[in-house]
């Protein structure tokens, strides 16, 4: 068991999703329930949240995706869990409160249908015999029969089909056995059936960043399309970790973490901050890695600033760098009874590090020297960002949990 777990956790780790939010499943006389806001149970040494027991049923695979450690042509140790073993692990970890639930994925063994059937068998056992009501996220197997997908969907909280690469061309090149149509079909099936008892926490997907040549714009355009057409809950971005040698793959040593971080930030702006694709890029193809996309946008549009905190609208407030949704709400409610000063903002726990360049309080700047000057602000903010190394490479998984 130790050896199996080692192999099957190790080969599952590249999936970025860890979220356990969005479901309200209750404990029907068994063990476990879901927490709507999601719960992080631990943090691994790479700083990522551990919420679910993230494992593969097997790392055997008949496919040969170039970027994947489990591809057919790799000579790695292979293992397979029995449904029983997966249930025992889940229940015993859950009881001790190590985990919030199970995230079960798998390589494709024998055939897509065969694999999906094995997954279904496992989930049925876990829900019915072990009476497990905690969170379950299952990976949908591309190419599997639609009825199998439907059956699995009626038992789990979240399902995901990984799009992996933003364009069909790269998919053909790097994942020759997969095709966009299969993945779209799954997303459509999940979307059509979604209800209280079918994938209540919605579906998510993942794109690998930096394995093919796509620009940030192409990636975000794809995300935008996915959110709009399939009501996805989340698109995850996973910086490509060089695990294989292949002339089709980029020759890099470290994963592009900063780029991944920028994409997450932009994704947030798209979903919650009313930014459009156009706002984010203004005809550029890639994000400025030196600054977060919101600040970068604000500097490109200095003509819209400064904003007076005491009368800017909510939609304006949330576009100010450093001001999040919660801060905007606090400002809105407090200014009903009081005219806000910079000290009040600080007291409310609103960080002025970035915001101070873009706002006035009662028509006063934070400091005289901050009158709008593009290059000065730019220099100061970049300086900030790099002094404050913590801001870099922050994993957004946790914010996801708090946000919802």
């Amino acid at each position: 068991m130790q050896e199996k777990l080692k192999i099957l956790a190790d080969s599952a780790k590249y999936d970025a999703s860890c979220s356990s939010s969005g479901s309200k499943r209750i404990n029907k006389n068994g063990i476990g329930n879901a927490s709507y806001s999601g719960i992080c149970h631990s943090f691994s040494s790479d700083g990522r949240c551990i919420s679910l027991l993230k494992i593969l049923m097997t790392n055997c695979c008949i496919f040969d995706c170039k970027y994947c450690i489990n591809r057919k042509s790799n000579n790695v140790k292979r293992a397979i869990f029995t449904p029983q073993e997966i249930c025992e692990l889940t229940i015993n970890f859950y009881k001790r409160n190590y985990i919030e639930g199970l995230f079960l994925s798998s390589g494709i063994i024998n055939s897509p249908d065969w694999t999906a059937e094995k997954l279904l068998e496992t989930i049925l056992l876990l829900r019915n015999k072990y009476k497990f009501n905690g969170y379950i996220h299952v990976k949908a197997i591309p190419g599997a029969n639609r009825n199998l997908i439907k059956k699995i969907g009626s038992l789990v909280d979240r399902m995901s089909a990984n799009i992996e690469l933003p364009t069909n061309e790269s998919l053909k090149l790097l994942a020759p056995n997969k095709n966009e149509k299969d993945i779209n079909n799954i997303m459509q099936t999940i979307k059509n059936n979604k209800c209280k008892d079918f994938v209540p926490a919605g579906q998510s997907t993942q794109m690998i960043i930096g394995a093919a040549k796509e620009t940030d714009f192409q990636i975000m355009k794809k995300s935008f399309y996915l959110y709009k057409n399939y009501n996805l809950k989340r698109v995850f971005y996973s910086a490509y970790v060089p695990v294989n040698n292949d002339k089709l793959l980029p020759n890099i040593i470290t994963p592009p973490l900063l780029r991944e971080n920028r994409l997450y930030q932009a994704d947030w702006l798209l979903r919650f901050y009313k930014f459009s694709l156009n706002d984010l890029f203004d005809n550029y193809e890639n994000f400025n890695v030196l600054l977060d996309p919101k600040t970068d946008w604000a500097i490109r549009h200095l003509d819209r600033f400064p904003l007076e905190v005491n009368n800017a609208s909510f939609d304006e407030l949330i576009k100010i760098p450093g001001i999040g949704l919660n801060s905007a709400k606090k400002i809105l409610s407090s200014r009903k009874v009081w005219s806000l000063t910079f000290d009040d903002l600080k007291k409310m726990g609103i960080s002025l590090k970035k915001a101070k360049y873009f706002i006035t309080c009662n028509n006063k700047y934070y400091s005289e020297k901050y009158t709008i000057n593009q290059s000065l602000i730019y220099a100061n903010l970049i300086n900030n960002e790099f002094r404050d190394k913590k801001a870099l490479h922050v994993q957004l998984s946790l914010f996801d949990e708090i946000k919802q």
Binding site: Q2, S42, P255
Partner: protein
């Protein structure tokens, strides 16, 4: 309201604190401080008043019935580890009676801002411990966990586990406050005791080892970022989290 140089004592319970506050408001007294009689250190300078009120329950009922969210805010502040929490609650309530639900707009008042921040802190710590609490299965029967949170979150945490693990016996022990919550598949029982927990071991150590194996192997070494890990999982919590113990 008239200021008073007296320190008023209450018996350490939430209900009794609200009794006292109701009395003070009725009598229009602004106390210099309100303290828990169990932890208050007597000295020669302070003027102490211990009224031992029991029957002032109107305020408690009024808030609990009509203002659930306010009640929750106050209760969370009460569970915080802030030394001035009683007097913060007092002024918060005085203002609440004036502004009702609009009180949330009055962050520029110190007592309101402090109360809201404290309540948020308690709620955040509770949320963290829903994840960070680790149980051991003792004698194959009872799940046992030790926690050491900054705030007194045990009442909130046990509410969570009584739903999640409702068909198991469990015991959570707060080593800082030497208090526990025992769940018998029906109800939670709270009490104080000193438990020497070092001798407890999991009936089946295999699961702990498997968990540690998982924990190690789920990390991507090319992304190693200990600072980020420490940020989310502060060192002060490590000693009761088994996968962090031997690090």
């Amino acid at each position: 309201m008239k200021s008073s140089n007296n320190i008023f004592l209450y018996d350490g319970t939430f209900v009794n604190l609200l009794c006292l506050i109701e009395y003070l408001i009725d009598e229009r007294i602004k106390p210099i401080d309100i303290c828990n009689e169990n932890t208050y250190e007597y000295n020669l300078i302070d003027n102490i008043i211990n009224l031992n009120l029991k029957n002032k329950i109107k305020l408690h009922e009024y808030i609990n019935k009509n203002y659930k969210n306010i009640y929750k805010t106050i209760y969370y502040v009460f569970l915080s580890n802030n030394e001035k929490k009683e007097i913060i609650i007092f002024y918060f309530i005085v203002n609440f009676l004036k502004y009702k639900n609009n009180i949330y707009n009055y962050r520029y008042l110190n007592c309101v801002n402090k109360a809201l921040n404290l309540s948020l802190r308690v709620s955040r710590e509770t949320h963290k411990f829903k994840g960070f609490t680790r149980f051991k299965l003792i004698n194959g029967k009872i799940l046992f966990a030790v926690i050491c949170p900054d705030n007194n979150i045990l009442p909130l945490l046990s509410n969570h586990f009584s739903k999640r693990l409702k068909n198991d016996f469990w015991l959570i022990y707060d080593e800082k406050r030497q208090s526990y919550c025992l769940y018998n598949k029906k109800h939670c029982y709270f009490g104080n005791a000193t438990i020497n927990f070092n001798k407890f071991e999991d009936t089946n150590i295999m699961w702990e080892n498997l968990w540690k194996t998982f924990f190690k192997n789920i990390a991507i070494k090319e992304r190693k970022n200990l600072k980020c890990q420490m940020n989310f999982l502060p060192k002060k919590y490590w000693k009761n989290i088994i996968e962090m113990e031997d690090l």
